[in-house]
């Protein structure tokens, strides 16, 4: 059976977050199983399921050129803004 990745939106206003994976015959069944496995205890308000094989992932070899260049560039970080206390989930 194909593998699916499950994304759960914990609350309105937040983005979907990866929750885990499961196996199912098709997307409809995967959605039902996602509900059973990942949202039974009020974890979410919305679900996405995506076939794992449809995800294009970076490879181990890509890491040096993808991620290392970000090192030592603190001027790229938006650290100088004060976040209002009422803003949550950012």
């Amino acid at each position: 059976m194909p593998l699916f990745e499950v994304f759960v939106r914990p609350r309105r206003g937040l983005q979907h977050q990866h929750a885990g994976s499961l196996r199912a015959e098709d997307a409809e069944l995967a959605l039902q199983y996602a509900r059973e496995i990942y949202t039974r205890r009020r974890e979410g308000v919305s679900l996405w399921v995506v076939r794992s094989s449809d995800i294009t992932a970076s490879q181990e070899d890509d890491a040096p050129m993808f991620f290392d260049p970000a090192d030592g560039k603190p001027y790229r970080d938006a650290t100088f803004y004060e976040l209002p206390s009422k803003v949550r989930g950012l």
């Binding site: 499961l22 196996r23 199912a24 069944l29 039902q32 199983y33 509900r35 059973e36 496995i37 039974r40």
Partner: protein
Amino acid sequence: MSLLAAVVGLGDDALVLGQRLSAWCGKSPWLEEDLAMANTALDFLGRARLLYGYAEQLGGCDEDAYAFQRDARAFTNLLIYELPCADFALACARQLLVDAFDVLHLEKLCDSADANLAGIAAKAHKEARYHRRRSAAWLVRLGDGTAESHCRMQKAMEDVWGYHAELFAPVEAEIGLVEKGVLPDRAALRPQWLAAVSATLDEATLELPSADWQVDGGRRGLHTEHLAPMLAEMQHLHRSHPGARW
């Protein structure tokens, strides 16, 4: 039938089905379905607890006494809920029939003149809509699947079909509560139920079984040979260790 007896009957329906479904735990075709079955079982056990809790308020005994200290003859669940359905096709067939009934019955029960029953129904109705979606999906998947799964699904539907009549059989003493608007009129739900079930069977490329037999007796405590062994297993721990606590 008193309100108390009616509430206990509905509680028994939920408890017995919950116990049957929980028997799939560890035996479903795969892990995800195993969790789904167990979750559904827990929904029914939760519903039973709400109903028994209300029965206790009405002057009945407590939930453990209802579940664990009565013999088969004292249980008043309808027969369709106690069938073992240890074959997955049978479990799917039974589930479709009772879920389709539940959705209609609970929707009406939400408007009950009895506020407690209406409240329990409002909670259960949401679950029932999901259960129905699940059981209908399985029916279509197996009915319109391979030649083998189609055959087995058709046979399973024939095997449980005769038990559905009891869902709609008006119990004589229930009529008073129906007239007071406390309970829905079961018989009146049948046309809509049949239309819904027929549509799902159609989508699943299955034939509507020819109903040339039917059984009843559950509400009077007259059960199939399957209930007592199930209760023996379910009640064994409680009866062997009375008053034991976790």
